[in-house]
Symmetry: C2
Subunit: 187 residues, 2 copies
């Protein structure tokens, strides 16, 4: 194996592409995030890492709510755009159509693959920047994306972000079942 | 949008599929992890969430080192297998060929897409389970996966995990450049 230069060749695993929604003082804002992870099943929790200076960070701190929206590939342009422009400079509220869930606390994206309504549970500082931990209080999807009542990635067509080439990649093919394809190696 | 039952229909964004490597008292172990995220650029940091009872959690706590290995789709069976069987019960050391980096502290997977040699920087408890934060001290790849010296996902063929259907999905196509495809919406 060849040693890579961490500074010059820093690459990483494929990361989810999601849009984080906030609303502060009536102002809706959207921001693209790739540093996003599931943290717990029960209660269901999601973590996102932002820069402390992001407009979205301020809104999450002040309101205690954020949404995590998994866009479909048809929303790729809008998803990219809200990651390029700051809410401090531009009103991005109309880039996506929004809806509210049961809690009526935070906007989510109408027509996205899956929308997670999150209450801020804890904020952890990592090298000075916030890891916002949200408890999932509501989950929504469009009926057209469901199969047997469950979100179906073959219908959602999400896309992932790869830092090595600064590109979005599509998920095309379900290649194998997890906890199954490795059975052949069991001794 | 339709309200989903969080308990019954819990689905999430696509997650990276990585293999975490450890070595404790001379015993190499591998474990599949999907709850994995980049946390910082400078210094480069990666976070992984495990159950506190995992054999790997114990090894990370005791040694202060772990590796994060991005497998290629050709290593899918082995990757799945090391997520099905505990190191408490089976010796999984030979499931992957291993190599060591400059630090000589933790094994990595020979032939994987990208291997990250991580020194444990901090452990944060989330609902009782550990989020291990590792500082990337070394990064390695196979020359066959590089283009202009950088890891090329088109050559690595990583795969991602989707919880909704408990399946691995392949990354097939670079669909657009980030920070570019959204330019058309700039006003």
């Amino acid at each position: 194996m060849e040693t890579l230069n961490i500074r010059k060749q820093f690459a990483n695993f494929p990361m989810p592409t999601v849009v984080v929604g906030t609303e502060e003082m009536g102002q809706i804002n959207w921001m693209t995030v790739a540093w996003c992870m599931q943290l717990e099943y029960n209660p269901p929790m999601i973590g996102i890492v932002l820069s402390k200076n992001h407009h979205t960070s301020k809104a999450i701190r002040n309101t205690g709510w954020f949404s995590v929206n998994l866009p479909t590939i048809r929303q790729m342009e809008s998803t990219d755009y809200v990651g390029m422009v700051s809410g401090k400079e531009k009103d991005k509220s109309k880039v996506f159509p929004s809806f509210y869930g049961d809690k009526k606390k935070v906007p989510m994206i109408e027509g996205c693959g899956i929308a997670f309504e999150c209450a801020l549970s804890e904020t952890i500082e990592i090298n000075g920047d916030p890891l916002f931990i949200g408890r999932v209080e509501g989950m929504y999807s469009d009926p057209e994306y469901l199969t047997d009542g469950k979100p179906d990635f073959a219908k959602i067509h999400p896309f992932v972000f790869c830092m090595a080439d600064g590109s979005y990649w599509s998920l095309e093919k379900r290649v194998a079942k997890a906890w199954k394809v490795g059975e052949s190696l069991r001794t």
